[in-house]
Subunit: 289 residues, 2 copies
């Protein structure tokens, strides 16, 4: 297991820029990251779009940044009237990931259609959503494999099942990988975010099942008790109940050598200065992760 | 599948009295239930304790009520200093269930010790909590089998894993039943609450695995989107996204003939009159469940 306390150069630390989206635009965030010695980031699409893809790519290059991922494609469930639009939007996400040289494109699959793609015909048929996810992902996978971008499907916590993701456990995600990319030729893999999967009694068994070649990204934050906000209620590493180091040990035992990507989506942290957030995240990375 | 619309006498409707705990004491709740033609209830321990066990038992008998369950025992994770106290408390819950002639005693297993039993030594070791649950449940099962009370372990939504229940899926609950009561001689079974398990991609497969003899109770409410309160944010049946009738069809296909127990724990409904709550619950029972 890597010794993060000794990682003076932050070689395995990544900032998911969604964590600080309230603190400024993408270029401002990169400047702040640089001040703290951070050289790996994982940008969100809307942040990149807001400053323009070319400008974002140039800023990343000029700043000497590399990426641990790009967030994100997916949100497949919709209705017939919107299906082409969703497919095209996802293809653009793949193209952007390629332009930015992201090692993977994170996929959040979506929940029921009225939430995944507002304006779609409402439904309670979650099995139907899962069938749409499977079909949409199969199509996107062909496109992404053609462009050379790896997809990293991310199981989200079950409390997001209706509104954000009907893919909720590692077992479910791996079953999908087995179905759509049985011989692993297309690079379909997972994002493991400790916030979403820590509660699962099977988490260690399923991490062993992922193995090395399907583990594309590893996200860290913490589960606060109590949690008062389902969307922006995550905690800084160490402030909650997740055994982060134990989960990191498990993925590293499978051979994972990628970055630990800090994704703390928090209304509380959004109120505090970006430098305080980054300094705290780095300190916790070295001490509790 | 039973036709609830035709259930004029509410033969399969049960009121979990926790749903209306803000509206008065246990005797007041029974009077209100009677006004609406409800004759099956599932009391909470603290409500019974507040009026006294003998008085509660007499009121139930005099009112012609039967029970669909008794809520609840469990909350096993603790520390050595509190273990005997927890065991004795759970034995008392079994004795009360026997006194009240409850067909089952619902078991909520608890999460981390500092939340399950405040005052216990804090821990993040959720696997340790699960080991304690297994040991505590094994002990309680012997006691309950001796008294003739069936235990109904209830998997709670994963968002409760730290604070209320480290038992979170039907698969996990059934694995525990297989381990502790392999030959089904001790009556260990499940409470299936649609609110807690609707999101699970395996829910129908696991309901088939439960079968008839391990299905002791069936709870209904709805998942609101958005959900803004993790503890008291449940919706009235029909106001959320759960396919309740589909889940009821699944348990009835396995032979379940028990009551549909309304457990709507809601800060919003707590503000409205008990008669409005009961009338609405009955109407929804007949139309959307």
């Amino acid at each position: 297991m890597r010794d993060l306390a000794a990682d003076a150069e932050l070689k395995f630390f990544s900032l998911n820029t969604g964590s600080v989206r309230a603190h400024g635009d993408f270029l401002t965030i990169l400047e702040a990251a640089r001040r703290h010695g951070i050289s790996i980031v994982s940008p969100w699409r809307e942040q990149v779009a807001a400053v323009g893809l070319d400008r974002a790519a140039r800023a990343l290059r000029d700043g000497g940044f590399t990426l641990s991922g790009y967030c994100r494609a997916g949100l497949f469930p919709t209705d017939a009237a919107h299906r082409d639009e969703v497919r095209d939007d996802n293809h653009r996400a793949v193209d952007e990931a390629a332009t930015l040289a992201a090692p993977c494109l994170v996929v959040v699959v979506g929940g029921l259609p009225q939430f995944a793609r507002p304006g779609s015909t409402p439904s309670k048929d979650i099995a139907g959503s899962r069938a749409e996810v499977r079909d949409g992902l199969a199509e996107l996978l062909e496109y992404a494999a053609g462009v050379g971008v790896k997809l990293a499907i991310e199981p989200l916590h079950p409390m997001t099942a209706a509104e954000r993701s009907c893919l909720n456990t590692l077992r479910q995600a791996l079953d999908l990988c087995d179905a759509l990319d049985p011989d692993r030729s297309k690079g379909l893999g997972l994002t493991v975010d400790v916030y979403h999967i820590w509660w699962d009694f099977e988490v260690h068994e399923q991490i062993r099942r992922i193995g090395r070649h399907r583990l594309h990204a590893f996200h860290i934050s913490d589960w606060l008790a109590p949690t008062v906000d389902l969307l922006a209620g995550r905690g800084m590493m160490g402030d909650g109940v997740i055994e982060i180091a134990k989960l990191r040990a498990a993925v590293e035992a499978e051979g994972f050598v990628g970055a630990c990507e800090v994704e703390v989506l928090s209304a509380e942290w959004a109120k505090r200065p970006i430098d305080e957030f980054l300094a705290t995240a780095i300190a916790r990375y070295r001490t509790v992760c």
